[in-house]
Structures are given as C-alpha cells and as structure tokens.
C-alpha cells in the first residue's frame, strides 16, 4: 500500500535547507560582484545596503506591498472565475465553442501590456485597473487548462456514470468537474506566477500606490537601494504566494498523481 499524501518531514526539511543555501550563495555572489567590479551603489547596491533600506523603510514598503498583493489576489480570483465560466460555456454549448474559441486564441495575439494605458483610461488610477490587468493575463491559461480538463474526462468514468443513469448536470458536477481539477490546478500554478507581472505593469503605467509605483518613484530619485528593496519584497511575496498555492492545491486535490497515470 502506498500513501502519496504525506511527504515525509525529512525531505521537507532537506528542501528548506537546500533553498536557504541557494539563497545565501546567490547573495554572496551579488556581494562579490559589487566588491570585485567596484559597482557604484546607484548601479548595483550591495545586498547589505538593500537590507538596511528594507528595515529602515519597513512600514512604507509593507503598506505598498499589501496594495500589490491585494491586486494580485483579487486579479487571481477574478481571472479564475472568468476562466472557469468561459470554459464551462464552451463545454456546454457547442455553437458558443465554435464562435468563442477562435476569438479566445486571437485575443492572445494582442500583447496584454499594450492594453494597460486603455485600462487606466477606463478604470482609473486606482486598484481596479491593476486587478483587471492581472485577471486578463491569467485568463487564457486558466480557460484553456480548465477546458482541456473538462473535455478529457477518462471515458470509463463517463461510461460508468451513464450506466448509473446520471443526467448531464450530475455528470458535469460529480464527474467532469472533479476530474478536471488536477489539470485546472496546473493552470492555477501558471496563473499565480504571471499575475504579479500584470499587477506591476499596471502600476508602472499609472498608479498612486503599490511596489511597482514605489520602484518608479525610487528610480526617479536615484534611490536605487530602495528600488532593490521593493524588488526583493515583490520577489519574496510572489514566491511565497506560489508555494502557498502549490501547498493548498496538493492538499485539496491529492488525486492528481493517480489520474495522471490513466
């Protein structure tokens, strides 16, 4: 009997240990580059200076990080809901699929970043335009993975459901949707990685808050160490968000390994 659901604690600690060693080595290389090539702090500040700024401007950075984080999370929620809805529509109504699928694919040819100024115009400089931006760039991966998962239900499951007299809705709700979740989960993992890009680009184009805004402000004032501090914080938040999502998905969709072998 194999139990897939509980990776043993030893491997998890080993993982953390390797991660911290990697981070320390990278910081060391960064410091060495600054020392060896005599980088001026307005081109590449040493890591210690960045940490100094991080601690000094802690509350300011944290407030702005919170803004960016809420934009990312709200964008994720909006994008995932829209993607799910879209995929379900395409699955349930064949004519809709025939008309929408080409539109969906063509929409990917438009660089979403080019839409940022228009979104500013429509939704203003507040959080809404960034949320919409983040939602827009994750919409495609979510829709396609969800639609793929819903379409490729193992046929044996559907045969079984049919001989048991399940109607269309019960088949969708009890068989197709849960069977699609592992595929959807990989879409969500991609979405969590790209959503911060949307939010930050939105902030660059026009905003009054957030880490992207802070970076532009520091850059304009030649406070490069502050810019790096904001960047570092953004990276930490994005990585934390990814691991949190990954953990939750593995926790609540533990059957992904099994289905992959079918």
């Amino acid at each position: 009997m194999t139990n897939y659901n509980h990776p043993d604690k030893h491997s998890r600690y080993a993982h953390l240990w390797r991660l911290s060693v990697t981070v320390l080595v990278l910081l060391g290389i960064w410091h060495l580059i600054v020392v060896i090539f005599e980088m001026p702090p307005f081109i590449l500040p040493p890591p210690l200076l960045v940490f100094e700024k991080l601690l000094a401007n802690y509350s300011l950075l944290f407030d702005h990080a919170l803004i960016t984080l809420s934009e990312i999370v709200l964008g994720l929620i909006l994008g995932i809901c829209m993607g799910l809805l879209f995929a379900l529509q395409m699955l349930l109504f064949k004519p809709v699929r025939r008309w929408l699928l080409p539109v969906l694919i063509a929409s990917q040819a438009i660089p979403v970043f080019a839409l940022a100024p228009i979104l500013m115009l429509w939704f203003g400089y507040g959080m809404t335009s960034k949320v919409v931006m983040a939602a827009l760039i994750i919409f495609f991966p979510i829709t396609t993975t969800c639609f793929d998962g819903l379409r490729h239900t193992p046929s044996g499951y559907l045969d079984l459901a049919q001989t048991m007299g399940a109607n269309r809705w019960r088949q969708l709700w009890s068989i197709r949707l849960p069977a699609a979740l592992p595929t959807l989960a990989s879409g969500i993992r991609v979405a969590v990685v790209v959503a911060p890009i949307g939010a930050v680009v939105g902030e660059w184009v026009g905003s009054a808050g957030g880490l992207g805004y802070l970076m532009l402000q520091s850059n304009a004032r030649m406070q490069i160490a502050d810019m790096f501090a904001a960047l570092l914080l953004l990276a930490v938040f994005s990585i934390a968000l990814y691991y949190l999502t990954d953990f939750l998905l593995k926790r609540f969709i533990p059957w992904h390994r099994e289905q992959a072998s079918r």
Partner: protein, 246 residues
C-alpha cells in the same frame, strides 16, 4: 428474475469498412452466468457496450434486445470494467454508493448502512473512509465489486474485470464474484479460457467468423475448482482456439 434475448443483432461503426458483428443471437438465461470467450479485438467488448447502451446512436445498430419480463433493459444493468473506475476524489464508502449519488444526488443513511454491510461481506471492513489510492489493486477491484452489488440491478455486465490482477487475487475474486452474484443474470467477457471455464453456466466462444460457438462445460458447480476435468476441457478448448490463430 428476467432472462435476456438478443436477436439478429449487428453493429457497424460509422467509419469502419465492415461490421463488428452481424446477425448475432444470444440468450442469457435468468440468474445464471453466461461467459463469452474471445481474443482481444474480436468485438466482445462492443457487444457488451451495446447492451449497456454505451454505443453512440450515430453508429449503425440493428436487431432486437428484449427482456422476458417485458421491461426495458436500460437502468437495470450494472457495468464492471477491467479498470476498477473508482473515483479518486471519493472515499471508498462514497464510491460504493456512487449510483445513489449520481441518480438522486444524495446518499441516505440506509444506503450507507447497506454499503458497509456489503464491504464487510467482501472482507473490506475498516477502509470505508480511505481513498482509492491507498488501496491495493485487489482491494480496489473488490470495492468495484461492492459498487456493482450496491446497484442491485438484475443484469450485470462484466468486461474482463479481473484481468489486471495477479493470479492469486484473480482466483480469490472469481470465487467471491461467483458467490455474491449467483442470483443475477450475468454476462461475463474474458479472454482467459480457465477463467471462463471456472465461472460459466453457459460458455460461448466468439470465433474469427464473428459467430458464437457453444462450448462444453465441466459437470461441477461454479466457481469450479481447477481439477482434472476442467484441465482437460481447457486443453481441448485451447486446441480449438489455436486452430484459428494465424
């Protein structure tokens, strides 16, 4: 209990050049096991899917399928496939009660009680709340058997349900299935002559001409022990089948 009659049945897939089978006649007597033996790809699974109502109506289907009690066949069959088809996101108990969940949307306490009873009959007590990926292959197929029993249908269609198991588990499950399904009208499909000879009350060989050839069975009761008589039957059956290979 009702018997099942298949008359002049033929099946032609839309994009195939020739029919899978045509003019097929088969009688499934009530409360007994009818086995069909055949090489892979001979069309025996298609016949089973036809009975289960799983063939898309866009394909060309002819002939008549009727039950002796005059009631329709659909919704009175249970289907057991080679894969256990346990849903990995449901607990063992919910998998066993799947039909109730899919047809009415909820599982009652009485149904759960009955499912527990069935599981204990199949020596599966204590795993009700486990998930399928925590079980071994033999246990999983026994849970699938419990799910089939839970459907309480007069007809049971089985498509090589034990062929993915190791020899000992297969032997055990054959005994168990013959025991718990002895009062159902069963159509059992297999490519294993020994399995067919152990379990069949009527045995047909689906030969290369797509005809059902009746096969003589040993005199003992099912599930038969693998004794000298069964061995002799198996030997002559293998020779008969061998003559049609290549």
């Amino acid at each position: 209990m009702s018997s099942l009659e298949i008359r002049q049945s033929s099946l032609h897939y839309q994009d195939a050049s020739s029919p899978v089978f045509s003019g097929l006649n088969l009688h499934l007597p009530a409360n007994s096991w009818t086995c069909i033996l055949g090489a892979s790809g001979c069309g025996k699974t298609s016949l089973l899917r036809l009975l289960a109502g799983l063939i898309d109506p866009q394909h060309q289907i002819e002939g008549e399928i009727s039950c002796s009690d005059g009631l329709p066949l659909s919704s009175r069959i249970a289907y057991m496939a080679q894969q256990d088809l346990l849903l990995p996101w449901l607990s063992v108990l919910d998998n066993v009660c799947l039909k109730a969940k899919l047809s009415t949307g909820k599982i009652t306490a009485t149904q759960q009680e009955r499912a527990r009873l069935l599981l204990s009959q199949l020596n599966l007590s204590g795993i009700e709340n486990d998930f399928p990926n925590q079980l071994s292959g033999g246990m999983r197929q026994r849970v699938a058997l419990a799910r089939t029993l839970m459907q309480e249908t007069p007809f049971v269609l089985m498509d090589e349900p034990f062929s993915a198991l190791d020899a000992v588990n297969r032997y055990k499950l054959q005994e168990l299935a013959a025991e718990v399904l002895k009062n159902r009208t069963v159509l059992f499909i297999t490519h294993d002559p020994q399995e067919a000879l152990r379990l069949a009350n009527q045995l047909y060989w689906f030969d290369n001409n797509k005809k059902l050839v009746p096969i003589q069975l040993p005199s003992s009761n099912t599930p038969r022990a693998i004794d000298a008589e069964l061995g002799a039957c198996q030997q002559s059956l293998l020779q008969q089948m061998h003559s049609q290979y290549d």
